[in-house]
Symmetry: C2
Subunit: 386 residues, 2 copies
């Protein structure tokens, strides 16, 4: 086995946001040497990495030069230069998740096609090279309102996704390659995180249940375990593992899915990295998702994904109408509540709906956790003086 | 309430070893700005602090200059210049734990006297200004073999403590102020960590049970909860809280005690900081000891000290006969075991019995955890090629 611990092995991480920051808790815990690159000089990963470099993640040369400095390269964000990753792979640098998988996932049209090709159930869709093509398809009656528009690329935190119900909304669709997806009336939105290592060892986390903020379309509560029938949760984990295996994925894969009115599971989309829906694991799981990501990409044995206790995660997003240096209102109140852990990402400026942190509520009783989560949500606010 | 989070509030930490390193996971989690000083350029805290400064912790001017840069000063090691801390307090810098308490604790004679003055049960002792005074007391029959010799100052990890059974051992006692303590035949060695904030809010952790390595006199297993009667554990927590309250302590206080053959509890000694006996709390407790230390010194509400699961901690110490860059043997084996979390402190050199890390084993069933701990202990080794 490679000696990763207190050794000269170098792990490169593209992206220095909150996911990278939480990943660094684990590299510190195991004393794995890290080098992080991020475009921002104020990235949350600036400290706690052994070396921090400022650089453009979409720039071919910047990513190539960075990758040549490390033994193994991973990323905490999908918007990176994939061509550079491919070149690095050719040069013998291990890149996990693989550029090949990332490329498939980064284009939602290719991602959806991949599900069809691999017999993975997903919402029916048609693909278009531009908004114009889509509009004429609607006019020609090939696509009927309402439907879900998804940009082929660049979707993140609710951006690049829109439910199109009216002719007017149709005209507001941005240009570019996209797909129109059948609007699925679902009971529940679920997610399963799967870890897989290069040796093919694979393990999934319990199913989590998600509630979205109606306006910002960001996750508001993540509840683990999902309050669904055991048989459905079993099917959901099987489906997620099927997806990870189809990609021959290495690292973490967060699989978002819908539970339809008639109890069918359809895959919505995936993220090839630690995921917002797995933050609860830091406090609730035997092996948190960030340690698990390290275990997976380093081809170490995967850890136990069971939960010690029930966990609920509340996103801490910037309040509307506030932009500037953040103030975290009522922290003292929530710190009084049992089993409540705030995570402050350390962003220098709050903006409406910007993810500034998250709060985990753990409890042996999930209903108590849910009640506390509501209190937390109603107490803490991120505002600014400016 | 002071705005500690993503603000310009500066927390100073004296000492950059593993305790500081684990404390920094929590300052990062809450985005509290930290400045750390340590004599070593290779201290585990060198990264993850906002600023790291190299300096002598026993040097009056170095500590004074450092303290003047921060809003609140704490320490992760007792060997710091207390006079400088007192001066900083005069100048209005908050110093927690207080220099006054630290001074009492740093001199074991004063510490023991403090217990007597405050009606806290502790082993009978006599104090001496030198080893010569002690030896003549033995000759005069005022002190009888066997007894426990403790140096008044500088005791740490089993140094400065010795069981004196023979005339020969008596002659090997180092010079300096010391005490001779009645040797107490005990069933069990226990520890309770108490957190107390400036507002006087106080809370204790469950009682842990300790097993020591016979040669190195370092803790080998820390077991939480201690496998003792509920009534005794209740008494132990009361006693520990009495000690914290007597000191009007601010921060964490680890109270080590003996359970005598006839079920009496006597205080052995205390440490005014996060403690080896509390490491299990990172994986097992609702609020780990490092977050709790921050809550206490910042006068925030204290967190829930209950455990989610049973926890056992195994120290990872350097094997005998190895000195040099560490190699962690059989990490893969222990990572296969469920609920096993290694913590590698990141020290550049292993030495016989040097604390290089620790491993936590958590499980819903304490007996299973204990069995796994044994396996862990027998698997992992810290060696070196040199």
């Amino acid at each position: 086995m490679i000696n990763y611990f207190s050794s000269d092995f170098k792990l490169g991480i593209l992206g220095g946001g909150q996911l990278g920051k939480m990943l660094l808790y684990e590299t510190r815990k195991l004393d794995i040497h890290t080098i992080v690159m991020d475009p921002s000089d104020e990235a949350p990963c600036k400290i706690a990495a052994n070396t921090f470099l400022q650089g453009d993640l979409m720039n071919y040369d910047a990513v190539l030069d960075f990758g040549r400095k490390v033994d193994l390269l991973t990323f905490e964000i999908e918007s990176v230069n994939v061509e550079a990753l491919k070149q690095l792979e050719k040069e013998g640098v291990k890149v996990y998740p693989t550029p090949n998988t990332l490329e498939k996932i980064n284009d939602k049209v290719i991602q959806k096609q991949f599900y069809l090709n691999n017999g993975i159930s997903t919402a029916a869709f048609s693909a278009f090279n531009s908004n114009k093509e889509l509009i004429s398809a609607v006019t020609a009656g090939q696509v009927t309102l309402p439907f879900v528009w998804k940009s082929a690329t660049g979707g993140y935190d609710g951006k690049g996704v829109m439910i199109v119900k009216s002719q007017e909304a149709l005209e507001n669709i941005p240009p570019g390659k996209c797909l129109a997806e059948k609007l699925i009336p679902f009971k529940n939105e679920l997610a399963v995180i799967v870890a897989r290592n290069p040796s093919g060892e694979m393990i999934s986390y319990p199913v989590v249940e998600m509630e979205f903020h109606p306006v910002a379309n960001q996750v508001e509560y993540v509840i683990c375990p999902a309050r669904i029938e055991e048989s459905i949760s079993h099917k959901a984990r099987e489906l997620a593992e099927k997806v990870s295996d189809a990609f021959k994925h290495v690292g973490l894969l967060a699989v978002e899915m819908f539970l339809t009115q008639d109890d069918e599971l359809v895959v919505n989309e995936v993220a090839p990295r630690p995921h917002n829906s797995g933050h609860y694991s830091i406090e609730a799981s035997y092996t948190n998702q960030f340690e698990q990501h390290l275990r997976a990409i380093l081809d170490l044995p995967l850890g136990n994904t069971d939960s010690k206790v029930a966990g609920i995660m509340v996103n801490l997003s910037g309040e509307e109408n506030y932009t500037g240096p953040p103030i975290y209102l009522n922290m003292e109140q929530i710190l009084k509540m049992p089993g409540v852990t705030p995570h402050i990402y350390g962003k220098k400026e709050t903006r409406p709906f910007r993810k500034m942190g998250h709060i985990t509520i753990v409890n042996k009783d999930i209903e108590q956790a849910r009640a506390l989560a509501e209190k937390v949500k109603n107490s803490i606010k991120v505002i600014s003086e400016n």
